[in-house]
């Protein structure tokens, strides 16, 4: 590695270059340096050989963890250059929502890499072999990320979570609540419910009392019968005494004054009478209406507390809707995680590289004879281990830039004579080739699937489990022009359902459970359709009719019984205030009579005085 130079003997040596220790001139070539170079190169190669696997393992783990938002781990990695290839053993991808579970676990992934593309900093895999792919496997330790990373992840997905919430609300998720099968306690019911009829009766009673008090006071303020009779005395006094013309003229004037005063008093009484008649009429009308008020309360309470036969019309949606919503939510969450990559891919987004960090520089790409995406797996062969059996299949053209590649990603999986099914096939196409116009479709067919202890409904009011059944399933999914169209068609045969025993003595719940446990076959059709931001879910099943037949009559009978009890209780609660109100209105009768008497007396007086009243 190093050289030893002797002091030059003279000026000529300095000019001509170094000389050997023997006095001969040294050449420019230092042959031991070649050995040193080979040794250093070999050391570097050996270090690379031992470090490369670890570096690849760390790179896969950190990139995967960043993408998923939970730990991605690799048991071992083996990178080879000649031929170029990579083998990953024991790949585990944690489910971010359940850190003790792996969303995906792969026993072994082998990749046949194109070395020429690696030189261009591009990962092109001609064939990837995935063995022992499993879903939802248990982890030995938690795969959750430290708080800091989780918080960052949470902040990023806040908007997406809001969109999901809205989407689920539009689908009706959260509204799939079974009606309560428990009989309400009528005493508690009436104690906790505010009865409108009771309020009306009490208000009316108070209004009548206020009106009565008002008229007692008003009658005192108005001219009474004695005051009116005093006018009679005054008029008589003016007419009985004889006198001269002048005196007569004076008496006539006095008579007119008295008449004027009398007329004014009578007008006050008349106005009061009109007001009384109006308020009296209104109060009587309210008293007449009052007996009808309890019926409105009865109807409201019946709707709230009694099980109607209409509530059972779409029982399958109530039973299974919640579970389908959970599946949809899971699918949506995974879609959100993949969305940035899909968006980048559909935009053909490899061209716009971000501004590089200082010191890192940028790679400039030039036109290629055969341009390829920076990431491409031409073909993936996979063996998948599902609870129902092992599948094998292939995926073509997984890549980071479909518009550049010009080919969609296609998959095809098939399993025959599985442990728990006759056959399963899944095919699909994810077409992101046209920028801004993504489309995809998938089809799943499962025949002769033997269900064993599969929960059909986790609703607390009616938890139902499929103990055994033989199911055929066909599912279609398509997404195009921003519209989602998903349909799932299921036929269940040789069915044996079980449901938890009802709490307490409840005839309807018992009948429902009996109806369910008696079912031997049923079908189920579920669909999610609509715009990508506005979709609806529909579920229908032969279960609906079966259950309606089983419990419809009983529900009606139970509902009628409960309705009658509610009506009776409500009427009982409002009867006293109602009766009080009816009695109270009668106390207003004498007020009207008194006013009429006063008017009659005044009217007679005016008639007797020869003057005609204007009223």
């Amino acid at each position: 590695m190093s050289q030893t130079t002797q002091p030059p003997a003279n000026d000529s040596e300095k000019r001509d270059g170094p000389k050997s220790p023997q006095g001969g001139k040294k050449g420019w070539i230092r042959w031991p340096g070649l050995i040193a170079f080979v040794a250093i190169t070999l050391i570097l190669a050996v270090v690379w050989h031992f470090l490369a696997d670890w570096l690849v393992k760390r790179a896969v783990e950190s990139a995967g963890t960043r993408a998923v938002g939970a730990k991605v781990e690799v048991a071992a990695a083996d990178l080879s250059l000649f031929p170029a290839g990579l083998v990953l053993d024991g790949l585990q991808v944690t489910n971010p929502d359940a850190p003790m579970t792996n969303a995906v676990e792969i026993g072994r992934v082998g990749m046949d890499l194109e070395l020429a593309q690696l030189i261009r900093r591009r990962v092109v895999v001609n064939l990837m072999q995935v063995d022992a792919l499993r879903f939802n496997t248990e982890r030995k330790s938690s795969g959750a990320l430290p708080d800091k990373q989780r918080r960052k992840e949470g902040a990023d997905s806040e908007g997406a979570g809001e969109a999901l919430k809205k989407g689920l609300e539009k689908m009706g998720c959260g509204n799939f609540k079974l009606p309560s099968f428990e009989k309400p306690d009528l005493q508690n019911l009436l104690a906790n419910e505010q009865l409108k009829s009771l309020e009306l009766a009490q208000q009316l009673e108070a209004d009548i009392k206020a009106e009565e008090a008002y008229w007692q006071k008003t009658l005192k303020e108005l001219p009474d019968q004695q005051t009116l009779k005093a006018y009679e005395e005054k008029l008589k006094g003016l007419s009985s005494k004889k006198s001269d013309l002048g005196a007569l003229l004076g008496k006539a004037g006095d008579a007119l004054t008295v008449q004027k005063e009398l007329r004014a008093d009578l007008e006050r009484i008349k106005a009061a009478q009109q007001r009384f008649q109006k308020s009296s009429r209104d109060l009587r009308q309210r008293v007449q209406q009052l007996p009808k008020a309890p019926m409105a309360d009865v109807r409201r309470l019946q709707a709230k507390y009694s099980l109607s036969a209409d509530g059972l019309a779409n029982l399958s949606q109530l039973l299974i809707g919640g579970q389908l919503c959970d599946h949809w939510q899971t699918a949506w969450e995974w879609y959100q995680r993949l969305k940035p990559y899909i968006a980048q891919a559909t935009a053909g987004g490899e061209a716009a590289a971000p501004e590089p960090e200082r010191g890192t520089g940028a790679y400039v790409r030039f036109t290629e004879k055969t341009p390829l995406p920076t990431f491409l797996i031409r073909q993936t062969k996979a063996s998948v281990q599902l609870p129902l059996g092992a599948l094998s299949g292939k995926i073509e053209n997984i890549n980071s830039n479909p518009p550049l590649l010009g080919k969609p990603t296609a998959f095809n999986f098939l399993g025959r004579d599985l442990a728990a099914a006759k056959s399963l096939s899944a095919t699909g196409l994810i077409d992101l080739v046209t920028p801004g116009d993504p489309s995809s479709r998938a089809k799943l067919e499962l025949n002769g699937y033997q269900l064993d202890k599969v929960p059909l409904s986790r609703e607390a009011a009616l938890p139902v489990t499929v103990d055994t059944a033989l199911a055929d399933l066909a599912a279609d999914f398509s997404f195009a022009e921003q519209r989602v169209n998903t349909s799932v068609d299921m036929d269940f045969d040789a069915v044996k359902l079980s449901a938890a025993a009802p709490a307490g003595d409840n005839a309807v719940q018992t009948a429902l459970i009996n109806g369910l446990t008696g079912i031997r076959r049923f079908d189920l059709v579920a669909s999610v359709m609509g715009n990508v931001d506005d979709y609806r879910m529909k579920i229908r099943s032969s279960l609906d009719q079966t259950l309606k037949d089983a419990v419809g009559g009983l529900v009606k009978k139970e509902a009628a019984k409960l309705s009658a009890q509610i009506e009776s209780k409500v009427r009982q609660a409002v009867s006293a205030p109602l009766s009080n109100a009816q009695q109270q209105i009668d106390v207003l009768g004498p007020v009207g009579d008194e006013l009429q008497k006063r008017l009659n007396i005044g009217g007679e007086l005016l008639k007797g005085s020869g003057l005609k009243l204007p009223f």
Partner: protein
């Protein structure tokens, strides 16, 4: 820093051929200014080891140039981008890019291209300048300094002490 200056003096004052020192500095410039993990640096290593260049000068200058590279890599990035995107050179780069093995050089990396271009331009001038300076230093300045009062004073300083120590380690390479 004192050790660095002492090392420099030791190399300059040694009886090593000036061309060996200059060439070592020039190779160090290439290795120091360009990104380390590039195939061309393997070639530089081969040349440094096989050609009779002064290794001490190479190692010392490599450290200095690596520090300089850190300071001016944004300049290399801009220059590299300009060269790689130059219309007149597009054809050449495209041909090289499509070559099965040439992309291994990472010539299309902006800092690599920028720094390589700079070092290629400076290599020969630096070699000649180095030779010139070392020869003149030895012929005129060294003898004068050693005889001058300043030289005598320097001999009493810590730098000279360090220099002597290093010389005692078997300098002269």
């Amino acid at each position: 820093m004192i050790e660095l200056v002492a090392n420099l003096l030791k190399i300059l004052n040694s009886e090593t051929e000036p061309r060996q020192i200059s060439l070592g500095i020039c190779f160090a410039m290439v290795a120091g200014l360009t990104p380390l993990w590039r195939p061309h640096n393997l070639l530089i290593l081969l040349l440094v080891l096989v050609l009779r260049v002064n290794l001490s000068a190479f190692i010392l200058a490599w450290g200095v140039f690596s520090a300089i590279a850190y300071l001016i890599d944004p300049l290399f990035h801009s220059l590299g981008l300009a060269i790689l995107n130059a219309d007149g050179l597009k054809g050449l780069w495209t041909t090289l890019y499509n070559h099965p093995w040439f992309p291994l050089t990472q010539f299309n990396h902006s800092i690599t291209m920028g720094s390589l271009a700079v070092t290629a331009v400076l290599f020969v001038p630096l070699l000649l300048l180095g030779n010139f300076i070392i020869r003149n230093y030895r012929e005129h300045i060294l003898a004068y300094v050693q005889k001058s009062r300043l030289g005598q004073m320097l001999k009493a300083t810590k730098i000279f002490e360090t220099y002597q120590t290093l010389r005692g380690w078997g300098g002269g390479r």
